[in-house]
Subunit: 566 residues, 2 copies
């Protein structure tokens, strides 16, 4: 072993990675104390390593390393022939067999001078205990090799040859607890730096501060119940380590499932996927909160929703359509609910007799999602809850779905809500606090975290919402609520051009202004069937379902007014 | 019947809709002749209708209309109780049963004064012949009703009650040829205008001119083998009618299938979906051809590919990932191959031993797509070929996939290609004519339209392409070819930060410049496994497979330097 490779002092608590606490990346300004501490620790470790190295040099003198071909910082010259295995696949049949695998070094811990425990991890949480034990004759595994393994920086990617063994008792700290790997060879494929921006242990905990502001004198790292955490900003600034955390993997799995369950349900109901454009020629929905860009000699805008395009599809004879893709909002809202770019799950369908056909279809798809998660993602949800606690998401019993009209909701708020809502009216939109208060009342009364609020007032809806033919003050439009927060907006659309012109004018807009004219023209150009639909924000469904502190933990690369990186 | 509703004269050839030829929307400038002709036709039709109406008035005098409740331009006051049916579902069990349905009036044709044939169509090509025959006593269906039906403008959306019958002989002009509907009620839900921007018949044919230029004195409509066609611009400017054409539906089905086959294959291989951002903080790949926009106090760019983000996913411990979403190119290229926004199908995966693991995975997914299309989309492909002829897409026999190195491809071109390619070298990228010539040679030699070109020269690849460890002049990177055109670019990526810095510098870039530094930092921050991947343009795969004249027929809403609408 080269003396230029310092060994590391490793804490004995395997739950905390070396340097897992104070080493984790502090915010730029509030970091001095943490940094000083970290330097001190590093220095201590270095000295310990030097002492150890000196002792080793003394004891083994210039003893020949009989295992020097079996480890190293580059790939071996001769290929390993043992079969490749993934940690998630290890089973009884592999016991006493030699295998090879690629994995990250998650942790290492010396046991005397002759043995090293090294935790190896594949995607997500698939970790196993590796054992590197020097043989008596120094062949196969030497003392030098044991020491060298302890010096491999954490989160390095390694190639390993090992024999699968049954440990004396299950290895509680690893997901693969019934087996361990007795390493015979180990090579670094890609080394990690000595100091990580954020350690695996800290990345695996809940985020601390959510805001992106750097506050003078406030340290990034917070001690939450004894364990250090890092701010959301530090997590996001270290995408590789943030993404490696088991909780991140589990949230990803849930998000992927929500999208798949949405698409699969609709496909089974005859919906066809299409792709609306992101670049559009005019700010279609009023012009506020829209990103604008130079487009050759013209200007273009980024679509705020696929609304118009979903309707064009219906006009083009596609009976039922859905789309999944990014939508853009130039809102300067720095809250845990907002992003400037997010993935929308949208659908639109022909109506035969009544717009509740659409409402029930959307209710069906959301219940399918919630039931699918509860059934098949129990492990992921439990893992996420161990980091971000939440109560079980309550669903209505089949056939007992809760559907209130907006007026009924307001009446409930007036009668049983907090005193400040004693005089809410049926004509104004609900505020977020009103929504939350109503959500609490509905939960108490009907034992569900999911319900529908139908017949929104005309003033609370855009021009394409169809007024109720029997009550001109309300629309055939609804919101869906999760834990007291709006998760879906939808309804029946105006499908006759003269009615559309009237609703556009009633909102103070001109049916012939750019961006709106082209839309009305489609309805003027052919007969368009009655239709309706709805749209969901993917990240919000996941965040509200899991009661996460922010949607920024759900999106792969969240975009906010302050964040365009990574 | 109100005399303000003119009846229409309908040509007897059902394949040509009324006004199907000269009525179709001409380009703005070159339209005068067509317009004059159309006016003349319309005037002729109007006069004929007047004559007919006068004759009818004479014969029946002010005879009472005993069927007046059974038709009209708005929905009936009493609901129709017959079960709803979709045209695609009509079967023997429905014969002699009364049903209701919603459909478009595709065509109508009078047979004497007492009978009208009216073609009704649902999504795509699902058309059926409707019969409206006046009863002797004028109850149920009256002569007035028959006439009124003939006056319903084509492409209006109607509600119909009818009895399913077996026709005397199959109705060749309709896809539902074994049944016909004897109408008892018909109401217009949404009327189409008298004059369509483009008729169903013209929309159903191949597009004429592809370019978006308006050429003085050139008419939009071209007569192709006797049948009028409209330009691509006219098609796209009439999205509802363009989309209603059976060929558009069929292309949509193929495009949907390509995306689904891509995703399903990769999911089955353990790939996880993620969503890269469209908004990015710096022009990452050199800065050319990138859209820029104001982003609060900063600037943002639209992503040209998910390349960096796919790699971040690998760094974050996701072994295999894929994504489907829009990418943006600010190229002022007005060709049938280019769009400024298109849907990319991308994947990235860890490599165990050799980058050909990735190449074979991509080969597998493309062959899965091609075989899936050939197996399950025969009807759609045949329909498309009836409009856009193409030769069968030749695939290699299983186990006989064709993989040439770039140098082998150039050698083949030199030896057997056209004389102008007699001195092509191994260090320069191939031009499009070279690619096409090589495609023809490969087809002749190996009987396949699909093959792989591996080991591209370093100069033809971006900085993230890994140089071949055994030959520094070439890379571990490949293109996939379809009918002699590149359809996929991919390869192994540099995964070690110091090597990445070197390749970045070799391209004349600075590893610490904005947009590149953040990328390199991710490789500096952890150990990143060896990995590789590739990306496909969804619309191009479909267009090349079907040999369509332009990718703009595949995208739902194509975006070009000249087109941001609809």
């Amino acid at each position: 072993m080269s003396s230029s490779e310092p060994a590391k002092e490793v804490p004995t608590d395997p739950a905390i990675a070396p340097g897992g606490g104070e080493d984790a990346a502090p915010s730029k300004k509030g970091a001095k104390k943490a940094e000083a501490k970290a330097k001190k620790e590093a220095e201590k470790a270095r000295k310990a390593a030097e002492r150890e190295a000196a002792a080793a040099a003394q004891s083994s003198a210039a003893a020949e390393d009989l295992a020097k071909e079996n480890y190293g910082s580059s790939l071996p010259s001769t290929k390993i022939s043992a079969p490749y295995i993934h940690l998630r696949d290890i089973a009884e049949e592999h016991v006493d067999k030699v295998v090879q695998l690629q994995a990250w070094v998650q942790n290492s811990r010396a046991q005397g001078g002759k043995m090293m425990f090294v935790e190896l991890r594949e995607e997500g949480n698939w970790a196993v205990q590796g054992v590197v034990a020097a043989t008596a004759d120094g062949k196969g595994v030497s003392k030098q090799m044991v020491k060298w393994v302890g010096g491999v920086s954490l989160e390095s990617f390694v190639l390993v040859e090992a024999t699968v063994k049954k440990p004396l008792e299950p290895v509680k700290s690893c997901k693969v607890s019934e087996y361990e790997l007795h390493l015979s060879k180990i090579y670094v494929i890609a080394p990690a730096p000595e100091k990580l921006g954020i350690t695996f242990a800290v990345a695996s905990r809940a985020v601390g501060r959510l805001d992106e502001e750097e506050v003078e004198g406030v340290e990034d790292l917070a001690i939450t119940e004894g364990a250090p955490t890092a701010s959301l900003a530090t997590h996001l600034n270290n995408p590789a380590m943030h993404g490696r955390a088991p909780v991140s993997h589990a949230i990803d799995e849930v998000r992927i499932a929500v999208e798949d369950l949405f698409c699969d349900y609709l496909k089974a109901q005859g919906f066809k996927r299409f792709h609306p454009p992101s670049l559009i020629g005019a700010a279609s929905e009023g012009g506020a909160n829209v990103f604008k860009l130079a487009y050759f000699e013209k200007e273009a805008y980024l679509a705020q929703s696929p609304q118009f395009y979903k309707q064009y599809q219906i006009a083009a004879g596609k009976k039922r359509v859905f789309c999944v893709g990014p939508v853009f909002r130039a809102e300067n809202s720095n809250t845990p609910r907002h992003m400037t770019e997010f993935i929308g799950l949208d659908m639109e369908m022909e109506i035969q007799e009544h717009y509740h056909e659409v409402m029930h279809m959307l209710e069906g798809v959301l219940l399918h999602i919630f039931r699918g998660l509860a059934k098949d993602y129990r492990n992921e949800i439990e893992l996420i809850r161990s980091v971000y606690p939440s109560e079980e998401f309550l669903l209505p019993e089949p056939g007992k779905e809760v559907r209130l009209t907006f007026a009924e909701g307001q009446a409930l708020l007036r009668a049983e809500g907090p005193p400040e809502f004693a005089s809410v009216t049926d004509d104004e939109d609900m505020s977020t606090p009103q929504e939350k208060a109503l959500g609490a009342l509905v939960r108490k009364k009907y034992n569900t975290d999911f319900y529908v609020l139908d017949k929104f007032p005309v003033d609370a809806r855009p021009f394409y919402a169809l007024p109720d033919p029997e009550n001109a003050k309300v629309t055939n439009a609804y919101d869906f609520m999760m834990r007291g927060q709006e998760i879906l907006s939808g309804g029946q659309r105006v499908h006759l051009p003269h009615e559309l012109e009237a609703t556009i004018r009633s909102k103070g807009l001109d049916p012939n202004q750019p961006g709106i004219k082209e839309y009305v023209d489609v309805f003027r150009s052919v007969g368009v069937p009655p239709h309706g639909g709805g749209g969901i924000g993917l990240d919000r469904v996941v965040a509200w379902y899991l009661n996460l502190p922010t949607v920024h933990l759900v999106a792969d690369y969240p975009r906010t007014p302050k964040r365009l990186f990574p």
